[in-house]
Subunit: 521 residues, 2 copies
Amino acid sequence: MRALTLITFLGALCRSLTENISYTSSPNIIIMLMDDMGWGDLGVFGQPSKETPNLDAMAAEGMLLPNFYTGSPLCSPSRAALLTGRLPIRNGFYTTNAHARNAYTPQEIVGGISKDEILLPQMLKTKGYVSKIVGKWHLGHRPQYLPLKNGFDEWFGSPNCHFGPYNNSIRPNMPVYNNSEMLGRYYEEFKIDRKTGESNLTQIYLMEGLDFIFRQTKAQQPFFLYWAPDATHSPVYASKRFLGKSQRGRYGDAVMELDYSIGQILNSLRILGIDSNTFVFFTSDNGAALMSGPNESGSNGPFLCGKETTFEGGMREPAIAWWPGHIKEGSVTFQLANVMDLFTTSLVLAGISPPDDRTLDGLDLTPVLFNRPHTLKNRPIFYYRGNELMAVRLGQYKAHYWTWSNSWAELKKGINFCPGQEVPNVTTHTQKEHTLQPIIFHLGRDPGEKFPLSVLTKEYQDALSRISAVVKEHKETLVPGMPQLNMCDMAVMNWAPAGCEKLGKCLKPPTSEPWKCNWPH
Amino acid sequence: MRALTLITFLGALCRSLTENISYTSSPNIIIMLMDDMGWGDLGVFGQPSKETPNLDAMAAEGMLLPNFYTGSPLCSPSRAALLTGRLPIRNGFYTTNAHARNAYTPQEIVGGISKDEILLPQMLKTKGYVSKIVGKWHLGHRPQYLPLKNGFDEWFGSPNCHFGPYNNSIRPNMPVYNNSEMLGRYYEEFKIDRKTGESNLTQIYLMEGLDFIFRQTKAQQPFFLYWAPDATHSPVYASKRFLGKSQRGRYGDAVMELDYSIGQILNSLRILGIDSNTFVFFTSDNGAALMSGPNESGSNGPFLCGKETTFEGGMREPAIAWWPGHIKEGSVTFQLANVMDLFTTSLVLAGISPPDDRTLDGLDLTPVLFNRPHTLKNRPIFYYRGNELMAVRLGQYKAHYWTWSNSWAELKKGINFCPGQEVPNVTTHTQKEHTLQPIIFHLGRDPGEKFPLSVLTKEYQDALSRISAVVKEHKETLVPGMPQLNMCDMAVMNWAPAGCEKLGKCLKPPTSEPWKCNWPH
């Protein structure tokens, strides 16, 4: 069903519905998480093509957060951080196989989200929330790691990225699940034309989201929708009606379709009369993947480098909070915030006490969102790459303890995390340690991290002294989680996901031969 | 008088005035030209600090032009282009002393705007407009080149930049004129504290602008105000109340004060009831001066390099058109446009036929501004550096025929036009010719000019073929103006500007010893 048709349908029903609905105090929660979308991809964040009218309107109706961060410059750990409210170094989404390497959950990964972690939907369930994830999961694909085993009531989407394989010869194509059973596979039942970039997946994800919103509204049950489409991850895709429409090429087509879909979702909330009872947050999992540029990459605006790195381009994200009647329209907060705050904030909104048996990295942002007096100003942002704390931001100052873009070997293969950018001693192609004399930038004057403060200045010494105290405390109290992303095995791939028998789509796994995963970045 | 006091005063008078005012069809015209402000300095263009609420509101009430260009990457020629509607290569604001060098009007320059050029205020006078320039002139400082000899009725400001000298030992301090007589000098009567950055010059320029608007409104005469403050040119300055207020340091303080002042001007138009009869255009003279970064430089957002260069960062400018009731609020145009269009457009708005005895580079933008059917889409943008056509944009394609950032010699001195940016074969430190095989970028997919199209592609060949035709026609029909910026002489400096006798501030000029100016960039 096309979005407009469904919305018309919803509109026809809403009058009779809204009269009868009596909500609890628990607002609905929608987190929209984009894939590899960069800070600079939105008109409101300075994209010259200005092709995101719905997101720009969302910002005009809500709050913009220019200092919002992810929990990791890579997809799996950043998504685990969002759903657990904890840094990947705590929740186990890292590796000890290699120093400062970004690890994630490819098909051959043995691990996934630990059963010791508490996920946002699990907590929300205690207050009667029904939760659905639409789109990419990426917290592990073996049965015990899947969404319905981890608090979600519904799921439509895939456990992994759609970036391949593109046939089942060596590795199985990614399965697409409807709840606990596979519905088909990418490139088979769920087409993505690699040549034209055509796929109607975003439309399907939109329909799945709208359908859930409608059903929950009708059932008068509070809901949590985690809407995680992946059209902007390479290979980027868009529906026929959006292909060729953007000034920016195919990546822009994908952005336009996501922007359209977000407009449809917000509009459906209005039509259903639940906009003033629904908190919506838009952001992305990590910075734009500049190594896929220019055709398949987004923009990190004025920031340095992108995905995979701990420069601002890798971890500063576009972010908009929206809740008509609760969040002041057209507002901006400069509060340093991150995806882990969404965990804590969502719980507070739902009237649930966050778990007190573990360290949480997320803070309650409600005082900021609702413009109440607050004292969050001095919270640090930690930039990890795998098991190494690469950098820390405190206020406007960011200290780099380690720098690394990518290796010389990768660069020679044409993979460049910082194309066209080169800051001496900063965008290094070896893992370079600066712990004795961190490189410090003032991100207000120098958001692009191009002009290190001189170590001889009082400003440097003052900033270092304040950041050092924070780092010391952080390291002294840190209890790293058990690393989940160390082991790989071809046998654990998506050969025979639940439901494959009914579809006749089970593949035969090879013999189990585990190895220590190799992480190049 | 403080701005608020004056505005209150205006407000008290406006009721009685507006009832009696009957306008001609000629709208008032205000062009606000910033100095070295970059595309990325406005919140609406993605500045992370978002400290320009008045400009952002101006955009929300008017039209944003993300593809707006200056006529040169340097101050004097770009200002000459704006006021003549002609490229500097035609109006003489270039040099033949050295290939592809940016030339401007320092104190020792002998030349200035040619008497053969027709300036915007001269044309507007034919329809009864009264014109005032507030701020920086920069079209030559010898008596015959000054504003009141070139069509302006009033002037408050300086013929040159305030970047020095800072005493009268070798060169005189810059004079500040009130109309045809000097009122004092920078760093003497008109203080700029080089240590603290404190100066009330922007407030003075605001008052001068408001006073002119008020007088013209009272006199019921259409006016042209060319408001050209220079607070964002290094050494940047701000009034005490703005110093230290920005997240971005002193440069940001200057931006905040300009933003405040622009808000005051627009508000005064509303209070006087002439907002629907006043066309206002905001832009800048060239890209942010990255070589002054980070403390004294703005941001060019996602674009490559800055001032002095023909990359996008050097010539793409922030631009907003505002005219309540005439220009649709919150609109955006992707039309390629430039400062020379302001000449032609202003004439059309005033009901004046542009001069037909010379080539004009400016086009009439009114169909775009008023959203009428139009066919300007395919106009090219020419990027000159001095006497050399470095690059041409047509549609989304930009072909570089020559590349150059700055020389190795300058780079070694620490002057860097592209700090932190390095695109092989593009940000070259020699003047590199590519005329046989231009470097072509698709600015939609790659606004940062980082990924040259492969010459083997059909896309490259098609783009080249279209651009080549435009270049051929341009070069064949080009009649370069007499170069005005070749000769220098210490004797022509501002030793004894008109009015210096009354003030006792005349200095003794040295003997005339002209030489061919040396242009490093």
